[in-house]
Symmetry: C2
């Protein structure tokens, strides 16, 4: 039987404050995890030379390939294809018109032949000509029923558990977490709050010119077919400057489309963290970089090496990929 | 000598909770003040049928004429004129070219004759062709030295004390307060946080197309001369939809340029508050509405009456206009 005296030190251990818990349990111990935690501690410790006041703790994250999977194609493109099928009955002309015919017939060759022009027609037909609210409803309905072709899971479960932990960790340390992505802003708002905890006003993406109008006496904001902003590459620091109006102190991406956002973040004063998710895990997710059509990571990877940015090696750094993967045991440190 | 027994009730009164304090001391008692307080209490009282969760408590305010004075001209236009004078040495051609010559010579007639085209040239020459950061620095420098022609006060003191109290009150009740104004976003960011407590990411205005570029190896966001968005009239609900992604539950303006923002707010579900500042005080501020060049209030005033929106009568409702006005004594209720 344990004496009261010997039990006391144990009780003391149990009452250790919350910071002793691992904020990133799905990350393997190693240089990258250490870098992230050391950065957060440096900028949040009052009196530290790197201290940043809470209002300035802006963290920006790309979405496709950084917070969720982007293979075998951007999920928003798969949504657009499914929408063509759903809307086909209202558009009998699509049965004989490319690129819609190719989507309806599952004709990959004809679809590929229609190229970027074809894709833009599909995006236009499924993303515009309706109100923002109606579009978000469509995206939400799709997310409820559509399943990923490889895993059979809903697309909004194909999110990276280690990145969710990082978002939560940052918010617990009074960071404001933003999505800054090439995807359509309203499409991302259909799920960002629920799955990432990122509210609509912190989702920045590409968007169409909208038009306020009265329809049957009711005001609505209509999405026109004209692109207002392409939130990719240089478009990312441009939208951060325009919408947030502060330079982030942390930026995470996974492709050359994030290069300028990382570069813009890096050029600010004081301590910053720039990171890339490198897709190196053909078993559990996908492995691709310099020669990929989707999420090409080439120039940004070179820059990351010379600039000593954090390059996450998915296979080595992440103990778990998706929330639906088996839970992991605490790692011996 | 007062006995301990008789002093006890007084001590009890002194310990009343903070809500007993008047959140809007610069507002006269009356229907408008009551409406504002009743609205806030209704949407923030848990269990009330009108309850709105904190994340959805979005309040939007126009700036010119709603939060600060817009007479004798929009302050941003006065800034542009002063910038022409400051920059004239670098532009010898302005001495002989309109509309710059008119500004330099104080020739009001020639300036008026140059019309909207002339004004746009002045705005372009003073607002674009530089980085966002440099532009904000220019605006801050101007605010430090420029003085209002009537009061001799810095322009960022020409703000409405009753509206400051309303912003504070809303934030104390977990509202998120936004500026949604026709003014240039970056110009407003030069003072909004300091004077209104509204951070950069909650300032929405008109903006120019920007261009991310490397200059001498340093990244910068350059303001080009092309207008990206005119945040006036229908542009206001459009930017709210695009940038906030939630419909406000409270909107305040002062002119026909705010009509669509108020209409869009009003058309949402549940309890809302729509308000207009009616400039009725020729003694302490200005009196103008249907026939004014600046801040014309005509159609929105008619709509406010039929829709029972809150129309603030500046002369009757406000005990104090500016923070530099003499402090007011508590009013007998």
């Amino acid at each position: 039987m344990t004496s009261l005296r010997s039990a006391l030190p144990l009780l003391f251990l149990l009452s250790l404050p919350a910071f002793a818990a691992d904020p990133l349990p799905s990350w393997h111990e190693g240089a990258n995890k250490q870098q992230i935690i050391a950065f957060v501690q440096a900028v949040t410790t009052e009196g530290s030379k790197d201290y940043v006041k809470p209002a300035e703790r802006i963290a920006v994250f790309d979405n496709d390939g950084t917070l969720w999977t982007e293979q075998p194609a951007y999920f928003e493109v798969l949504f657009a294809f499914d929408e063509v099928k759903r809307l086909a009955a209202q558009h009998p002309e699509w049965q004989t018109t490319q690129p819609f015919k190719a989507v309806l017939e599952g004709d990959h060759q004809a679809l590929a032949a229609s190229g970027m022009d074809g894709l833009l027609k599909i995006i236009g037909a499924t993303h515009t000509g309706i109100s923002t609210e109606a579009f978000i409803d469509n995206a939400k309905n799709w997310l409820k029923q559509a399943r990923h072709p490889k895993t059979g899971k809903p697309f909004n479960q194909m999110i990276y558990q280690p990145m969710l932990e990082m978002l939560d960790y940052l918010r617990s340390q009074q960071f404001k977490t933003y999505i800054v992505s090439g995807g359509d802003t309203a499409f991302m708002r259909a799920f960002a709050e629920e799955v990432y905890g990122v509210p609509p006003e912190q989702v920045i993406g590409s968007n169409f010119v909208t038009q306020y109008q009265l329809k049957d006496g009711q005001p609505q904001v209509l999405r026109t077919a004209k692109l207002a902003h392409n939130d990719d590459g240089p478009g990312k620091p441009e939208s951060i400057d325009s919408i947030i109006g502060r330079r982030p102190i942390l930026a995470f991406g996974n492709s050359d489309g994030d290069l300028q956002m990382l570069q813009w973040t890096a050029a600010g004063k004081g301590k910053r963290l720039m990171g890339l998710v490198h897709h190196t895990d053909a078993q559990r997710e996908w492995a691709y970089d310099r020669n990929s059509q989707v999420g090409r990571l080439d120039k940004a990877l070179d820059l990351a090496k010379t600039q000593h940015w954090t390059v996450v090696d998915m296979a080595r750094d992440w103990r778990r990929i998706y929330p639906f993967d088996p839970a992991v045991q605490a790692e011996v440190q």
